[in-house]
């Protein structure tokens, strides 16, 4: 493990920002700390950087305990949410700042700075000041500045939060590619699940100061291990009484059940529904146009379920009676989460 946190606790007054946090990150990985705001993800990042100090527990970087090593000597590059560019310095001076502190020779500094400015695609803008750049460009400068002193670890705090949607998409893939190319171990904080899934090699889900789950995007998305992960990912609808939906295994001690839109099949009465016997009837309450799909809010026995239908399928109308079939649901039992498939599918395949 390149970065390791062991039993970290951190209080701000009475507020517990980190609750026994432990995890490890392998070298060269791009990891996302994902969670809602106030879940303690930024605190974790700032403690790794040395900008905050844990009340107890150990932080290891490259096998060494760094708790008592000041932030400036941890060899970390940090990209702030606000970018924190030096407003009274040019792009060149911003990127050169860290190198000048290392007392590198002038020629070397110049070479490295120009190289980095080219890497982030801002060639020709060396003499600009931050207020003469767009949001995306500032983000790139912040990235170049963090990389300049050759850090072993790069930390990014909500790197895309302040950028408009279109540029964000572009920057995400750019950042992922660049970090992969450089091979630098990186941790970024985000509250956006799509961002985490798309960019990260590994996702660490935080909630209320605790680590809920860690795994590859596919793992955490498909197999949420905790009640929180199950309710956080996707666009889940809660089913207060999942027994009302047919052919699910009945279990005791179930607290909650969730279904994601991609697990719901909505068919018009005129369409063929293979699992008709296991489907239930619902009424379309609302329809939202989401660009590439239609999002439907369907009332099934007074439970609202979010589902999707493709634009190539026949349109449904508000108030229309439809058949709703659910492939699988997540159920939670205390802190644990399980996946329950619809038994109808299994029976069918056995018959065939």
């Amino acid at each position: 493990m390149y970065v390791e946190l062991r039993n970290i606790n951190k209080y701000y007054g009475d507020f517990k920002a980190s609750d026994n946090v432990s995890f490890g990150i392998e070298q060269g990985k791009l990891v996302a700390l994902l969670g809602p705001s106030g879940s303690g993800k930024t605190t974790i990042l700032r403690m790794i950087a040395g900008l905050e100090h844990p009340d107890d527990g150990e932080i290891l970087i490259d096998g060494k305990v760094v708790n008592n090593i000041p932030a400036s000597q941890r060899g970390i590059g940090f990209v702030f949410q606000s970018y924190a560019l030096f407003r009274y310095m040019t792009v060149y001076e911003n990127v050169a700042f860290g190198l000048e502190l290392q007392k590198a020779p002038k020629e070397e500094i110049k070479k490295r700075v120009l190289e980095l400015i080219e890497l982030v695609g801002l060639k020709g803008m060396e003499k600009r000041y931050p207020n003469q750049l767009s949001g995306g460009q500032r983000q790139r400068v912040a990235f170049a500045r963090a990389l300049a002193p050759n850090p072993k670890l790069l930390l990014l705090d909500e790197p895309f939060a302040a950028i408009d949607a279109k540029v964000r998409q572009e920057l995400r893939s750019w950042l992922k590619n660049t970090i992969e190319k450089l091979g630098i171990t990186s941790i970024f904080v985000t509250h956006d699940q799509d961002e985490a899934i798309e960019v990260a090699d590994e996702i660490i889900i935080t909630n209320k100061g605790r680590i809920e789950q860690k795994g590859t995007p596919i793992e955490v998305y498909r197999n949420p291990k905790t009640a929180f992960s199950a309710s956080f990912f996707g666009q889940p609808s809660e089913l207060p009484n999942y027994n009302a939906f047919r052919t699910f295994e009945q279990r005791e001690n179930i607290d909650k059940a969730f279904v994601r839109p991609e697990f719901v099949k909505v068919t018009k009465k005129s369409e063929v529904q293979v699992y008709k016997n296991s489907a239930v009837e619902g009424t379309v309450e609302q329809i939202f146009f989401r660009g590439d799909t239609l999002e439907l809010l369907i009332n099934v026995n007074n439970t609202l379920i979010t589902a999707r239908r493709g634009l190539d399928e026949e349109l449904v109308g508000i108030g229309e009676k439809v058949d709703v079939f659910i492939y699988r649901i997540f159920v939670t039992e205390g802190e644990k989460a399980y996946l329950l498939p619809n038994l109808a599918i299994r029976e069918e395949s056995v018959v065939i």
Binding site: L51, F78, A84, F86, Y88, L101
Partner: protein, 288 residues
Amino acid sequence: MEILDKKEQRSKRITKYILIAVSVFFAVTMLIIPLAAVIVNSLREGVSFYFKALSTKYVLSALIVTLIATVLAVLVNTVFGIIASYLLTKFSFKGKNVLSTLIDIPFSISPVIAGLAFIMTFGRLGWASGIIDSINNALGTNIKIVFAIPGVVLATIFVTFPFVSREIIPVLNTIGKDEEEAAALMGAGGFHIFRKITFPHIKWALVYGIILCTARALGEFGAVHALSKTRGETFTLPLEIDALYMSGSADSITSAFAASSLLVLIAVAVLILRNVLEYRAKNKPEKE
């Protein structure tokens, strides 16, 4: 619709002119006419009398005392102001609010009381007079605080205490800690961060604070009055003006106006300087 718009526009324009009239009337009667009267009165006996009035021993001595007190007060309060505002914005500690309130005391206390407080501290009955005496004995010096120039300087420092810090604190609060943290992460030391990162942000606020501090120091009357009793030695310009005016003869009253005109001219110069600096700051926000 269009008629309504026109009506609205007209009522808006009327409001604007009424407000302009009120403001101009107020500024002219309360500020411009009185100040112009000072200049006019100072020249009543002719230009040569004006310069003669300014070059008397008393006025020159008062001018020098005023300048000494002002320069020292500005220096001390600039250094203190920067340190205090840095402390109050970058660190959190117990008693922070108390300290922040303490800095504002000179704003709320009458300057005369400040002067009396110094007398009660450093005067013959004050608790600190013993300390001063023992220092004088040990070093063979004859330092006097009360009714001497150090007292005048102390009083001036007291009344101009908050100006610099009150200008800088809001700026430091708005820029936040991010830039400094970023610099610290790259290994910059405290002073380097201040010089390279923080100072460019607060530069103009600092200049503005210094100007306000200067203007206030030049004009201070009450606190200095309590601590300065010797004309021609420890009197500052405002005290000298008061003395000239109170002596009552027509000539000395004109001299009082002549001395006043000096302060008015310095004040106007300071205001012009301020506007020039503000203009420059606005037009080159990104330059160092």
